[in-house]
Structure formats: C-alpha cells, structure tokens
C-alpha cells in the first residue's frame, strides 16, 4: 500500500516527514494543519513539473476526506486562496522563472480538472484558467516551446470542459492561436506543429481523427 500510495499521488519527491503529513491528510484531514498541507502541495507543484501534472488528484482526495470526516472544507479554501495569490503574481512569476509559471498553469488546470463542486467544475476558476491560457498564447510566450507545450497540454486535458463553461472565451483563444500559427514570425517548427495539432483537435470536437492521430503520433515511440 505504501508504494502504490506514493505512486498514485506522486509524493516520492517530498521528504519523509512531509510524505507522512500528506498521508495523514489523506486519511484524517482534521487532525493536521490543512493550511500547511495546502501550502506544501502548492509549493511543490511550482517546483516539480511531474507533481504539478497530477497534484490535483491528491487535492481531490483530501477535499473528499475532509468533507466526509467533518463536513468541512478548510483545505479547499486554503488551497484556492493560495492559488489565487499565485495567480495575482503570475506575471512576476513568469518573469522570474518560466518553469515555475508553466508549473503553475499546469497545476491550476489540474485542480480545475479534479476538484468539482456538485459534479460541476468550479466556476471561480474558469476565468483565471482562461487568463492563463491567453497569456500562454501571447506572441512572446509562443516563442518558448515550454509555454506552447504547456498550452496545448492543458487544452487537451480540460479544453472540452472549459469550453462548456464559456464558449466565447474559447473561441477568442483560438482566434489568438490561429493568428499565432499563421502570422507569428520566429515561431519554431515544433511550436507550429503543436499549434496545428491543437487546432485540429478542437475542430474535431476535442478529439483527434484517426488520420490526424496517425500523422502526429505514429512515429512517437512512447
């Protein structure tokens, strides 16, 4: 159980003490300092790209556990407010470290994916997530492969949900992406490939047709 727990939540990168804290939070959230847990998770997400891609899951489990154990949502509130704080500072974060910025976007999208409210995505996150994706679609960001990669990854993971919550902004985002693809000078070929693929992906109703799949992915070994 120990190893599979680590594997599932990808908490191997934490030190032992923190791993223990998280494991307890997953089972008995009310017995730990949930504000600390939230901070620990957010901090790590900003540093560790692997973790940021799946941290939503551990958040989800803690939220569920807390709701079940004592009908509270201290963890969720702390998590969201911390996310909001980081959101406000995102431009500065981006200026300081592209890695951290990309990790943040990955994490917030992951949270959007996993943390639902009455089976619906959290409304409060819709615009912030869009804001992040719009930022990634700006000319200066399109020059960076990391950012383009992040952008298309998020669209693959949550594009359809995001679109359902607000079609208009998705349309606007894709105007931006088309412009970027067509008009942007100095765009690397990988960036252009990624953009083309995501354009096709959305056009296909958030699914890649078999032929497109073959075109883009047939030569990828893993």
């Amino acid at each position: 159980m120990e190893n599979s727990g680590k594997e599932e939540y990808k908490i191997q990168s934490f030190d032992i003490e923190t791993q223990q804290l998280l494991k307890t939070a997953l089972k008995e959230p009310s017995t730990v300092d949930l504000e600390k847990v939230a901070n620990v998770i957010v901090d790590q997400s900003l540093k560790d790209q692997v973790f940021s891609k799946e941290a939503g899951r551990i958040c989800y489990t803690i939220v569920q556990a807390e709701a079940k154990q004592n009908n509270a949502n201290v963890f969720r509130r702390n998590l969201l407010n911390r996310l909001q704080q980081e959101f406000k500072n995102r431009e500065e974060t981006r200026g300081r470290s592209l890695q951290e910025w990309v990790c943040y976007v990955t994490f917030i999208c992951n949270v959007f994916d996993y943390l639902k409210v009455n089976n619906m995505p959290m409304m409060a996150l819709v615009h912030p997530v869009y804001d992040c994706l719009f930022r990634l679609g700006q000319p200066d960001s399109l020059q960076n492969e990391e950012e383009v990669d992040c952008l298309v990854l998020q669209l693959h993971r949550i594009g359809d949900q995001l679109e359902k919550m607000n079609v208009q902004r998705m349309d606007e985002l894709f105007f931006l992406l088309r412009d970027g693809f067509l008009l942007q000078e100095g765009l690397g070929s990988l960036a252009r490939l990624l953009l083309l693929e995501v354009l096709e992906f959305r056009a296909g109703g958030w699914r890649l047709s078999d032929t497109a799949q073959k075109y883009y992915y047939s030569e990828v070994s893993d």
């Binding site: 909001q84 406000k88 995102r90 431009e91 409210v117 959290m122 819709v126 615009h127 804001d131």
Partner: protein
C-alpha cells in the same frame, strides 16, 4: 463583456487586475475603507506589483476578474475560497429545490387519491408549489443557517441516536423547512429554537475544561428535579432547556451537557460528566457559553 476585454488587454502593461490594493475606483475616494485619508499623490496606475509590500486594509478587495456570471456586478466575495463555497451553496440549493418540487408533486398526486377515498386533507407538509419560497438568496441564507446547525457534534449524535422513523414531533428537534414561506423573524426564531433543542445532544463536557467548574452529578437527579426546576424561579429559558433534557431519556449520558459545544465534529467523543450548576449558570451569564 467589453469591459472585461479591455481589462484583459491591460494585463500586459500592468497587473492591475491582480493588484492587491484598494479597488479600482479607490483613487476617486478621499478616504480608504478604514476611514483614513488617502495620500493625495497616490497614482492609481502605479498600483501594480510594487504595492505588494504595503500593508493591506482590513477589507481591501482586489479587483475581481473572476466573475463567472458574465455581465453582472462584481461579486462581493472576491476570494476564490468563498466564491466556491457560495457556488456550492447555490448549486446545493438548486438541487434541493428540484427534489422538493418533485416531492410535492408526488405528494399532491397521492393526496388527491387519498382525498377522494377518505376525504381528509393534510396541507401541513406539502405547501402548494406557488407558495413555495424560491428566492435563491433567501434559500441560500437559510441553508447556511441550517448548515451551521448540522455541522455540530450535537446534530451528529442526534441523527445517530434517533433514526427518522422514531422521531416524535415536539419531542425531537426538526430541521425547519427552508422552502416554506416564512417571515424573516419567524424563520430566524425557528432556527434558534431548533438549535437550542439540538443542544440536548451535546457531548458531555470535558474534565478540566476551562469553561466552567465541573461537578459530578448523577443524571437521575436531573430527571427527578425536572419537574421541580420547571416551577423554579429561573427564567423561562432554563426550564425550557431542562425540559428538553428529558427527551432522550433512553441514554442519559448523551443528553444535556454542562457547556453546550458548538464545536465542529472532530470525529472523537468527548467524555465527561454532567454539570447542572453550569446549566443554570448559563441563564445568568448568557453570553458566556455562546462565545466560548
């Protein structure tokens, strides 16, 4: 929508959207939220990341860019935690409303069948849908009040002890029906009474609790003195309170505790003993236990 669009275009230049300082119109105001005069030379366009080190006003609200409702006014609570909680409350209320409507319809239908056969009518539990409370703001407020009551150890113990089918009207507390039309005062009073009744299931106070001195008392004494207490000169609240104690007579140790606890359930039972004196003292030091 155009307003928000222009906001987003600003993002590139400054992070005005995300500034933590006063609201976007604060430079028009002479005084800040706490009443202190604003410095005259405060340039609103300078309120960007550089402001982060400045102490925030207690109720400073960052400009909200997270409006899920498209063209409405900015939400009053601009932090995501509260917004999501509010969102959850709203969707809970909507879902409850659907369920309730369905139940009314089913009741009405079966009632009609019963009426034709027995000629009886019972409108106590099924108000006509048109007389149902549908204002979301009201329903959300009421639900919040109900949630406060349900988030207590007392409620938890109550529902575990007394299954629904064993509940006797008048004896066992009953959650007020948020869908019925009531005046604000009437509703608030119902909630108050409901919560007082629920205190009967508070866990016994902890030993060595700093709230009140605890005295060992045999619970049987309480049962016996109940009739005496109701005719005592203590205020009405006291006798009402003691009357409620009698209800769960099956498990005395679960009934009235010395200091009612409005604590959140923490999954562990607090063991202790009953303190009659504290119960009676509450009436005199009314505010005391409420704020503990």
């Amino acid at each position: 929508m155009s307003f928000r669009n222009s906001l987003r275009h600003q993002e590139q230049r400054t992070s005005d959207d995300s500034r933590k300082g006063p609201s976007r119109w604060s430079h028009c105001r002479k005084r800040g939220a706490d009443g202190s005069l604003r410095p005259h030379d405060a340039d609103p366009s300078v309120l960007d990341d550089g402001d982060r080190d400045q102490p925030r006003h207690a109720d400073s609200r960052p400009a909200s860019f997270t409006t899920p409702e498209s063209d409405g006014p900015l939400p009053r609570c601009a932090d995501w935690g509260s917004e999501v909680e509010k969102d959850e409350l709203r969707t809970d209320v909507r879902r409850d409303m659907q369920r309730y409507r369905r139940r009314i319809l089913v009741n009405d239908f079966s009632e009609r069948e019963r009426k034709t056969s027995s000629g009886s009518s019972d409108s106590r539990d099924s108000p006509i849908p048109t007389e149902m409370e549908t204002d979301e703001a009201v329903l959300m407020r009421r639900q919040k009040q109900i949630n406060y009551g349900k988030n207590t150890i007392a409620y938890d113990r109550y529902i575990r002890e007394v299954p629904k089918h064993l509940r006797q009207p008048g004896v066992h507390p009953r959650t007020p029906n948020k869908f019925k039309k009531y005046s604000r005062r009437s509703w608030d009073q119902q909630i108050k009474l409901w919560r007082v009744k629920l205190h009967a299931w508070d866990p016994p106070a902890q030993e060595g609790s700093d709230l009140q001195a605890i005295e060992e008392i045999d619970l049987d004494d309480i049962m016996e003195t109940e009739s005496g207490a109701s005719s005592s000169t203590e205020s009405g609240t006291s006798s009402h309170y003691l009357k409620v104690v009698k209800a769960p007579s099956s498990t005395p140790e679960d009934s009235c505790s010395g200091t009612p606890n409005k604590v959140m359930r923490i999954g562990s039972e607090i063991e202790g003993s009953f303190d009659l004196e504290a119960c009676l003292n509450e009436v005199k030091e009314n505010g005391n236990w409420l704020t503990s």
